[in-house]
Amino acid sequence: MTDDFNTSRRDFVKGAATGAIGGTLAAMGIYSYSSSAYDRLPKVAREQQDFGAVRSVKVTNISETSWFNNAHLMEDIRTSGGLLVDQYTIGWGPFGNGKGPGKSSYADGIAPIKKMIPNDLEAAWAIQQKQALHPDNPGGYSCLIEVEDLDGSKHKYLLDVGWSYDWMDQSFKREGIDRMLQSGEIEALILSHEHFDHFWGFPVAMKYNNRIPTYIHNGFYKEGLQYIKDSGFQGDDLRIIDKEMTLIRPGMMAIKFDVPIICRVYGETSLAFNVKDKGLVLISGCNHQGILQMTSTAHKKLKYDNDRFYGIYGGLHISPFEDWDPKYDDLVFSLGKWNFERVGCNHCTGHLTAKKFVEAGYPVVRGTARFRTSSPDYLGNGDTITF
């Protein structure tokens, strides 16, 4: 009797152990990817923070051409070791040390030019002409944002400062940014992220106004923070964005995204505007977080007129190196569902992406292809767009 009981108990336990694994797996397989499983997902509540409104937003593209020869840029990345290599070590100006790809460092690069920036940029860049990889390749990304308040007053902001000292100084002069910085017309500088083509031209801005209030993402690495100091920033107003939402002014919100980015950069800040009677406008430097990630965040968090997405401007970071991946097609297919009325894209969007947007019938605002912008599918250098 006892033996029978023990055998029976042992068999029961064996069955229970087997059944537990089988039952769990069966439930996983049958239920997990079923429509009823997805029906029970909670609806995401929209916070719809009211952040005010502006009458209009005008963007002047100072420069969207971050580099002039994609093959040269990619060769530098390849020979340095790929897309995860620290940008300060690749050997690009202004941090080239002449030792070859992937063998540079912030300290090596800054040492010979430290005393020259920001006031003798020509001499500093001339040194880099000898030491950096493909020294004529850098350009940069920067744009001027003019916000018109509901009372008609206007406020100017500079988003990013490009890369090459030489190219950015020319570009600033072409669009009158040098004068606006000197006169204090530009109220603040917003650095979207730490990438070479958005940030390394920082001394050019410092040359004209080294006290301008400056916003940076709190993911800047120590080299980036040191570069701000070494570039002659004298302001007491370095505004480190450490919250997801930071109100810059009524109707203008900075949205922080904590995302790791190629070439060892962390985090990007993009801008959202509520344009009265029109809807939401999104402006980005590179949009490494993804356009629809930004759109979906704004949809969840912000309140905007007509509950409508109106426009988008900037680098949309889809195929920046003219590369491709099927997931980019997912974006091309999906963007239409968000019903943007105006899409002004350039820079790291990728020409192939812009072409596919046009083919998909999206309202891409075309440019004039001046000042070394290579395609009218991009809103190019010197072009403007008003939302």
């Binding site: 069955g15 537990a20 039952g23 990817y33 997805y38 990345i77 060892r264 099927p326 091309v332 192939l352």
Partner: protein
């Protein structure tokens, strides 16, 4: 060790015994493996290191193909062309170096000779970086595209090759001598792998080019509606789950429960397709778990909200579990072993899953401090599978090639032990009884309830800030 006429392989005929009592062997091997991981990672993969193969796809391809070559050498070719006498006589460190070097050489031949040289030059252009570059791609992306395609082949092989040995028991060629058996199984699994590659990955590659290569591949791919993406990551998800489940079945499950089937052909067929079925269950759950934890995926977004990334992350999550599974099997003596097989299997499954979750958490919290990568859940160019497979490769080198040195040493099994090993292929320790049936029913209900609890808890788990 003498040649075996029951079809037992070298690995099946040896027994690893601890050199020291207690946990010291496991500690010693763990420390050694981590030290070797650190050095080799720095030399080969680290973006700050010497060779910087983590571009990422070059390093991704290399670690996956190395894994396949290790599996081929140890499992499919039973160490041919190496003499078993030499394996028994030679010091484990020498063996480890020689066998690893042999696999590296074979891998280079396969990648450069077969994929890039033969296929890329005379068959499909995207396997050849030179051809892609000549057609206008940058050197960097020409290499990345080609290595991505070659890597995808390896993903399929990492499931099919061991599955033929573990599930199909080498049938119907189990009685052939080496290298005939190895070559036959390698060719057959490679052939099957090629078919699976064409129906799972080829369309993904065809979409990389503009316009879509619709005359040579199905575009948009047939899985778009089901997977909510045109990315082949959907297939990476279930194929990686298959890879993981093969080793779960082989190691901590001791081929249970399919080894209860007494009829050879039925057991083999059931095991082969049963592994796939279990993998799909795991795959769908891991995808749904992400939607529960982080919110519904949104097509067209990037990073952790994108369906393509979430499918990829299914495979990544499964690999974290595999690390736990293999560590438990290799370095903890497949602990626990004192209960009945079903209970041992159940406990090991729970323990290895907990280890996998711990490794997952530790990876995302701390690994960027050591690997030269960046913190964050999703980075478009970072693949946690690279360091995890690199680590698994070192596990395999240590256990398969080095007999577990320094903590273990290989001794020949006794005749009785060899008989037991041969008998293991068909288990007789669980028989159908009314009590077993009742246990099964209760266990299944408990399993379903456990799943329901997991589904309930996952939205809360998603609130935990893993990356700091």
């Amino acid at each position: 060790m003498e040649a075996d006429n029951r079809g037992l392989s070298y690995l099946e005929r040896r027994k690893l015994v601890k050199r020291w009592d207690g946990p010291l062997p496991a500690v010693a091997n763990t420390l050694m493996i981590f030290a070797i991981f650190g050095v080799t990672w720095w030399i080969f993969q680290d973006p700050r290191g010497l060779m910087r193969m983590y571009t990422p796809y070059v390093g991704y391809m290399v670690c996956r193909w190395l894994l396949i070559l290790f599996i081929w050498l140890a499992y499919i070719f039973d160490f041919w062309p190496f003499n078993h006498g030499w394996l028994e006589r030679t010091h484990p460190v020498v063996k480890g170096l020689v066998l690893t070097a042999f696999c590296v050489g074979a891998m280079v031949l396969l990648i450069d000779g077969f994929f890039m040289g033969l296929l890329g030059r005379y068959g499909i252009a995207y396997f050849s970086p030179e051809r892609l570059q000549a057609m206008g791609l940058t050197h960097f992306y020409a290499e990345e595209y080609a290595t991505e395609a070659i890597m995808m082949f390896a993903a399929i092989a990492s499931w099919l090759s061991p599955s033929w040995v573990v599930a199909c028991e080498n049938a119907p060629w189990q009685k052939l001598a080496q290298p005939t058996r190895g070559i036959t199984i390698a060719v057959v699994t490679f052939f099957l792998g090629t078919i699976i590659y064409f129906v799972t990955m080829h369309s993904h590659m065809a979409i990389l080019f503009y316009p879509w290569q619709k005359y040579t591949a199905i575009t948009p791919p047939y899985w778009e509606g089901f997977a909510n993406t045109v990315s082949g990551n959907f297939h990476i998800a279930w194929i990686m789950c298959c890879t993981v489940v093969v080793w779960v079945y082989e190691s901590i499950w001791q081929r249970y429960p399919f080894n209860l089937i007494q009829t050879d052909w039925l057991r083999r067929v059931t095991a082969f397709f049963g592994i796939i079925a279990v993998a799909f269950c795991l795959c769908f759950f891991l995808f749904y778990a992400q939607d529960l934890a982080w919110g519904l995926n949104i097509r067209g977004t990037r990073r952790e909200m994108a369906p393509d990334w979430r499918w990829l992350h299914v495979g990544e999550s499964a690999i974290f579990w595999l690390v736990g599974v293999l560590y438990l099997a290799f370095f903890c003596g497949n602990w626990p072993t004192k209960y009945s097989r079903p209970v041992n299997v159940f406990l090991r499954t729970v323990i290895s899953a907990l280890i996998g979750m711990a490794v997952y958490f530790l990876y995302y919290r701390y690994a960027h401090l050591f690997l030269g990568t960046q913190k964050g859940l999703s980075h478009p160019q970072q693949f946690p599978m690279i360091p995890m497979i690199w680590l698994i490769n070192l596990f395999l080198v240590n256990i398969w090639f080095m007999d577990g040195w320094p903590g273990w040493k290989a001794v020949p099994k006794t005749a009785t032990e060899l008989d037991e090993t041969a008998d293991e292929r068909v288990a007789r320790d669980v028989r159908w009884t009314p009590s077993l049936a009742r246990g099964l029913a209760v266990g299944a209900a408990a399993g379903a309830a456990t799943y329901a609890v997991a589904v309930f808890l996952l939205p809360w788990v998603g609130q935990i800030q893993m990356v700091k």
